[in-house]
Each structure stands twice: as C-alpha cells, then as structure tokens.
Symmetry: C2
C-alpha cells in the first residue's frame, strides 16, 4: 500500500471539469492526481483522430462568457490553446487541446477506471474494477457525469445527500448520437441549429481555427435528444443511413466520406437543481463537480470546478506545499 501514488487531491475524470479543477489546484501548488477510464483526456470535450487531422465529436465550443473564468480564458488565449469562433471559443487545433494543456504538469493515469472508493483514517483509497488499490488522497473530487458519479458514491456508506443529488440528476441525462462526415468545399454556414426531427446541430468542424483543408469540409452532425433516445439501441449502420440522409436533405450537399456514428450515452445534461454549482462534504473531504451541476455545458463544467476549488482550498489554508 505504501508504494502507491499519493496526493492531496485525487480527481476522477479528465474531462473539462476535472482538468480545470486540477489546473487551479496546481496553480496554488496543491499536489493532484487525475484518473480517467479513457485513453485520452477531454471526456465529452474530447476529439477523434482522423487520417487527415481530428474532429470534435462532442462539445463543439465553449462560450467563456462568465467573467469568473476570464483568467483561464486569457491564459488559454495567450498560449494559443483556444481561439475565437462563432461568438465563442474552441480548442486549437482540437477541443482536447484544452484539457491536455490544463493537465500538462499533473500526474495523469489514463485507462484507469475507478470502481470503488474507500475512506481509510483520513485518506481516500481509490480502487479499480479488480479491487486493486490505485492511489491515496486526502480529498476526493468526482468529476464525472451524474450516472457515473452516483455509481461511485453508492460504494461509500452514508453519503446520502451527495448520492441522492447525483441519483436525481440522472433523470436529466440524455443520450446523443453524433457523426462526422466530409463533403466537397461549400459556403454553407458553419454552425446550424436545426428544426428537424433527427438533426439538432450541424457544425462545419473544418471552419474552426486550425482545421482548414483545401480539399474538403469536415462536418459534425449531432442528433436530437428525442431521436437519440428513441434510437439508442438501433444498429449503427441504420443510424448512419438516417443521419446521412437527413444531413444531405438539410444542407443540400452530398456526403463524400464518413465515420462510424458515436453514441454518447451521457451526452447532454440538463442542469440539476443545486444551490451551488458543485457538491462538497467537508467532513469527509469529498467534492462532486461537473456540467450537470452548472449550466449543463462545457463552460458550466469549468465554472463548477473553479467555484468548487475556491471553497475546498480553504480547507488547506496554512499548509500548502
């Protein structure tokens, strides 16, 4: 046990929320460990690698309209990690550049699914699916979608308030089918919100800064919540056919090439009712952050993390490393 990594904060989830929390903690020299079940960072703000670059299949932009994270926005702009696009901001050359930058100096364990949480004296012990000890931390931060947060919290006895909160928020979670396609170059608008039974948003990904190609345009198609829910178990080939047909009708241009449809199980999250944009149990040193506690979007994930850190860091006022 003594040879496993230890830190002040263990952050479960390397999406926008977890990465932002770790970034602010690092700024104030609190040692952090970040763990994610996926191969890379970004969570639903991750990017898919393609032969000709990459594409943002999940969160397509961040509004950065709230001034309480203007310090972070300016830092990311200065480092050329984000650029303005469509009255908001995007990562350059892909959305996952943001989480990658935020985590650059922080120990990151990918392909690590935390399954079980255990309070030992004054520390948290994190265990994987084989119940192996992964790391120890003074304070635990769960930065995962509501469903995964609820399943993790369910392994800790008597965390009623946090568990109930996460469990109730599940009913606000919606799946979303997404697909990337390429077409010949076109002058169509780059961001379309559709009024269509299948299509919610069409994004010309190659219009974003740093993604330009001369030969073709790359698009991301996001299906509506309702259609995604109704077709959650529909075979991918069928989903693909529906999405391509709808896209070609709506945009009036033929699809050249396409990926496989991606099913975001916890794609969209309506905001949970909460008096604060995070949850915090001061007695047991456990915090919960994420878009589902604040705005339901990528900026909300950042705000949740920032405000949570401001509160939680007060628990360590005198003994910073």
């Amino acid at each position: 046990m003594s040879d496993i990594p230890q830190a002040r904060f263990a952050v479960i989830g390397a999406g926008i929320a977890g990465s932002t929390f770790a970034y602010y903690a690092q700024l104030e020299t609190h040692p952090c460990i970040v763990l994610d079940k996926s191969r890379g960072t970004g969570g639903r703000a991750g990017s898919k690698r393609l032969p000709h670059g990459s594409v943002d299949l999940g969160a397509s932009l961040i509004s950065f309209s709230d001034e309480s994270i203007s310090d972070l926005r300016e830092h990311l702009l200065q480092e050329n990690i984000i650029a303005r696009w469509q009255s908001a901001y995007v990562g350059v050359p892909r959305m996952s550049a943001i989480t990658r930058f935020l985590l650059q100096d922080i120990p990151l364990y990918t392909d690590t699914k935390i399954h079980h949480l255990e309070r030992r004296q004054d520390q948290w012990l994190l265990r994987d699916e084989r119940y192996q000890a992964v790391c120890l931390a003074d304070t635990l931060i769960i930065a995962a979608p509501a469903t995964q947060a609820a399943m993790l919290l369910a392994t800790i006895p008597n965390v009623n308030s946090l568990l109930q909160h996460a469990n109730q928020a599940i009913s606000q979670t919606r799946p979303q089918w997404a697909l990337w396609v390429t077409t010949s170059k076109t002058q169509s608008s780059a961001l379309m919100t559709c009024n269509h039974p299948i299509l919610e948003t069409i994004i010309k990904d190659s219009d974003k800064p740093g993604r330009h190609t001369d030969e073709f345009d790359t698009w991301v198609i996001q299906a509506t919540s309702q259609w995604s829910q109704d077709n959650i178990d529909t075979p991918k080939a069928e989903v693909l056919a529906h999405l391509i047909q709808a896209f070609e009708q709506e945009v009036g241009i033929a699809v050249l090439n396409t990926g496989e449809p991606h099913r975001w199980l916890l794609g969209r999250q309506a905001m949970a009712l909460s008096s604060k944009p995070y949850l915090w149990d001061d007695t047991r040193k456990i915090g919960v952050i994420g878009d589902w506690l604040c705005q339901g979007d990528a900026e909300g994930a950042m705000l949740s993390a920032k405000h949570a850190f401001e509160t939680i860091s007060k628990a360590y006022p005198f003994d910073q490393v």
Copy 2:
C-alpha cells in the same frame, strides 16, 4: 430490441437469494430469467472445483431452522440435494448443488454482468457493461450483496428509499479471506469456531456428506473479519503463509496441499435494519433481497427471497401463465 429474452421476473444474482426467489416463482408458473456475473451459480454459497472433487469456500452450511421454509427444506431432502450435518444442512455433494437444483428449469445467463437498469414504459430493460440490452422484464429483483445492489440502484433515477437502504448497509459488509488445505486423516472435530486473532472458523469439508476420501482430509479455513480487513491488500503468498501457520498451530497437524487464498470482498454481512426482510417498490416493480436484509446468513437469504415472493406475487393475482 424485440429479439431479446423477456420474462415476468428478471433476477440479478444466482446466489441463494436469487435462486430461491426464482424457485418459488417457477412453482407458481411465473416466467423468470436469472442472470449472474460469475461462471456458475451459488454466489457466496458456491463451491470450488478441485482435482479430487470440490470444496465449499464460502457459506459452509444452512441452518434451515425457520419453519417458513420447511417446504423447501423437505423438497431438497427428498431430492437428496441437502443432508444433515452438524445440527444444520449442507448441499450434497457440494453447496452449489442447492442453487443448481433450484434453478434447473429456469433460463440462466451466466458470465452476464448487469451494469445499468432502465425503466421503459411498464418494463425493465437490463443492460450490460457495454450498455447492450440483455433482457426485458415486468419486475426486477436485485439479489446481490448490498454494495452491488447500491451500485445498480444508483443507475435508476429517484429510487431514494431503496438506494439509501442499500448504501447504508454497505457499512455492515466485511471482507473475509478463505483457504482450503488438505491434511492426513485425523479425528479432530469437524467444525471449530476459534478464539484466535487470525482464524474465525475451521471446517473439515471432507467430513460433510458426500465428500469423503480415504487418503486425506480437506479443510476450509475462514479468517476473522478484523484480520481480513487489515490484510485486504496483503499479497496472496503472505496471506497463505499466515493462514497455514495459524491452522497448523491450532489443529496440530501439518498441511499437505493447499489452494490459493480466496478474498471474499463482501464475505460477511451484518444484517441491515429493515422492517421487512426485503425491499419492495410497488410502483416501479422493483424488489431487493439478500442475506444483508435478513439474518446475514444463507438461511436469511432464503427467507428474504421467500417473503419477498409472497408479497410481490400478489401483484399478479389473476393473470398467471
């Protein structure tokens, strides 16, 4: 979706509780499906196959002292599935014979870990870890240890009472290290409750009906809760050495052969405080059963299942198949 198995009851867990529930449901011709994440049936009342037979590494006996399951006890005796031993009963020729017999006419899906539960109109949809649909049922029965029950319930929105109950019971769950060893034949007593810092119980498994061998005795060593908890992350080789040494001191006979120590993560369960020996949500047709709701032992698992079935079957009084 229409091609997946459907039943009135989907029972998660093929241990004593789940198997008993399915048995009573089958007796009254309610169609059941039973699912288990393991390869076989029995759960903590399962048996480990050995070159020379098998050994009961978990629950070593069932008391069958409660008259409300005397019908089941008599049926199992008549069919030679159980036999008297040490003022209680054991499965013949192994404990897992009991769950195997109870489930003989019931569709059983092993190696199937249910991960996610979803209410769809008036049915439950059970999903595995890859979110694939596994089966549909009118009524869902969770027959798993408290920790696993809590994690499953956490995936259903707004099941506060059931979820809280399971979550609170986790604090009563204790791990247990167990080990089988062989020795030369001896006249030592067959069931020893120890007053020892490491050993809780020593059971001469080969003394049980149907396990006799002429060449050697087979034993099961069960460690105390406290020592198991303190050594939950101790390497198996070290646990093995401690258990063998303690056994040899206590019984005064040398170990000839041994298996690998088995770590029951949810081995022992002190009973949860509950007004009834099961949980039942009549609106959503979801029941929770198990030893942790009744007595904390194998008989309790049976009683929990039987009493739950009696209540739940009243929801289907007129339309039996």
